[in-house]
Symmetry: none
Subunit: 219 residues, 4 copies
């Protein structure tokens, strides 16, 4: 039972490694098998098709992230603190999968073309999960007067877009800057833009400093 799961995971790990290095289409099922130390046929004992294996990888990553984030948020009430947790979780997630980063681009590209709609659905479900969370947090910050009165969904959408954009930037630029600092930087810019006058007064100094520091140079 548990051994079956372990071997499944082994295959997923092997697949991640090869997919990341060669891309979905250039990856041969036989390579994945070889990497996992099993025969080609064995892959098909665990996944019906190559595409299913690809999907299983996407699903396992997103599910794991959703679970971990949910857990970490349990018991935390303060929305600002929650926002930090979300950011950290995202960064941690991306960093853990740093070597697999290019796969995400392929998940996205694949989602837009495959007849298999599960990819797009799964990604949208994940995004919805984050958007819901973001709306809750942002809504509370607006309600408490920390943020200016804004159109909450728009802000949350924008934030989501920015997150992916930074990730894209990071991947395409050859991962030549620390992802975490970029996310902090983003938070500072957005913060300065969205904070109410009162909140701004309090945080201004720290945030402006961060803007001056940037995220490209070594700290």
């Amino acid at each position: 039972m548990t051994e079956k799961k372990a071997k499944r995971q082994l295959l997923l790990d092997a697949a991640a490694e090869i997919f990341a290095r060669k891309g979905y289409h250039a990856t041969r099922v036989s390579e994945i098998a070889e990497r996992a130390g099993v025969a080609k046929g064995t892959v098909y004992e665990y996944f019906r098709t190559k595409e299913e294996l690809f999907y299983a990888l996407l699903d396992s990553w997103l599910t794991q992230f959703e679970h971990e984030l949910s857990e970490q948020l349990t018991g935390v009430a303060d929305p600002l603190q929650q926002a930090d947790i979300v950011r950290e979780a995202a960064v941690m997630f991306y960093c853990r999968h740093a070597a697999h980063a290019p796969i995400f681009l392929e998940f996205w590209a694949h989602a837009l073309r495959s007849i298999d709609s599960r990819f797009l659905e799964r990604i949208r479900r994940f995004r919805q999960f984050l958007l819901d969370l973001g709306c809750r947090l942002t809504g509370e910050l607006v309600a408490r007067g920390v943020f200016l009165p804004v159109d909450i969904p728009s802000v949350v959408y924008l934030e989501a877009g920015i997150s992916d954009g930074i990730f894209l930037l990071w991947v395409l630029s050859g991962r030549n800057f620390p992802l975490e600092r970029a996310y902090v930087f983003r938070q500072s810019v957005l913060g300065l833009g969205l904070l109410s006058d009162a909140a701004r007064k309090q945080l201004q100094g720290k945030l402006r400093q961060k803007l001056q520091d940037g995220f490209l140079s070594e700290p």
Copy 2:
């Protein structure tokens, strides 16, 4: 001569249409030929391989954008006005290629895996073009005291990431919001975050209104 160029363009247009609808790998060279109204073999008179055709498409789009933007900026001195031109050019570019949007994801994914490094190099050259432009503009705005003193490259990097991120958001969400308004919204948030106290005072009202409006609902 010019007829040769015209047919080349015909093939590029056909390729764009099919690549967008089916994706690079699912597209057959024969389909492109059929769509362009020529025989399969003719494609190879104009492009050595399928990948070269794909690259030519990327290159033609980016080159066109670079040319157009350079032209439009010629003779405009005011950096704020220039920033508007850049934003408008980007939106126009994306909108013109709205139907081809998914191809960009594939360009990016392809750039990260193909043995053919031209893809990555070409994309980086394009980004560098935009980053240089952004640094010049932002630098001037900082110099003039419109923007706070910030680490200019970081801000420009961030803006670039945000642009792509919004585009990604737009594509993955099924293009269900107006791209232009999202870019304006982005500008407002960043503006409020980056403007110096003096500049902020002047523009605050208009920008805050935009934050309240958002970009998701019909105007």
Copy 3:
């Protein structure tokens, strides 16, 4: 011991069912195992290969028929009565295996191509068994003056061919007529053709009526 035989029979029955429905090549060994309620590997405890299982099925059916017919003929002296018994046994055999009918076509086809010559040999042995029987019966009928003087082997060959032909007709036409009546009809036609003048006079009325009735309409 006997349990071993019982499970072997269980597997043969399962195989017959699946082979009949899907055909030899489209049948998976795992399906047979599943149908028999055992594990895939167990099949190989009883039959060395899939083809051997197929052969065992053929053999079991033909052997059973040979045994049954031999038993039923024991103690019956009258050749006309014996002919009836043979015909009835054949019909009973075919009807019992009505659901498996298409398998016979595959046995025949298989016999003509398999490297494994046992199929062809077994089928020929079976045919020889019937031909010998037929020659004995027909010979006696000729000797007694019931039949015209004919080349006995040719008649018996023809009868055998007709039997298989009717069966083939029955299978390919979707089994849309009663097999038994077709065999009776055949007997009448052949009878009228082969009977001596004396015998014909006696049976003519009954046989001609049967020709008028045919075997396609409901009686």
Copy 4:
């Protein structure tokens, strides 16, 4: 145009040869290609799948037979003469395809199992063609008082069954007797059984001689 048809025929001939020798399933597409002197891929320029090639073979044979028989019957009025033409055409057809004989068994077996219903439909259409013809001929013979009053469809069905049965016999026995003589023998037996008293008187002598001669020994 015509060259395309010629190559198609080349492939059909090659396929017939290999299918006949090895059977449908044991035949590799590459073998057919090799035999036809083309590359494997070329086969797929002419036939979408292996099964389609198999079907095309069946169709080409049956269609050819239908055409030839129709032509030969044109202008012949006498039903007895027509019956002879049909018999001769069938024998000629079988003899021309003697080397491919085992394929017919596979066509039949395939028709009963393939999801592709075209096989069964095509075979049934062919049989219907022959049955219609047979009914017309037999009907006329009955009307003219040559045959006894009989249930015409039953007789024709039986004759069709007998034809296939003799063919089966011939194939399974290793084609060790002359097919034509067997068909003549069959005709004699059936004739003696079906002829009216008047007609019988006339033909009796010749037919009985044929029964004595049989078809197994050399003439």
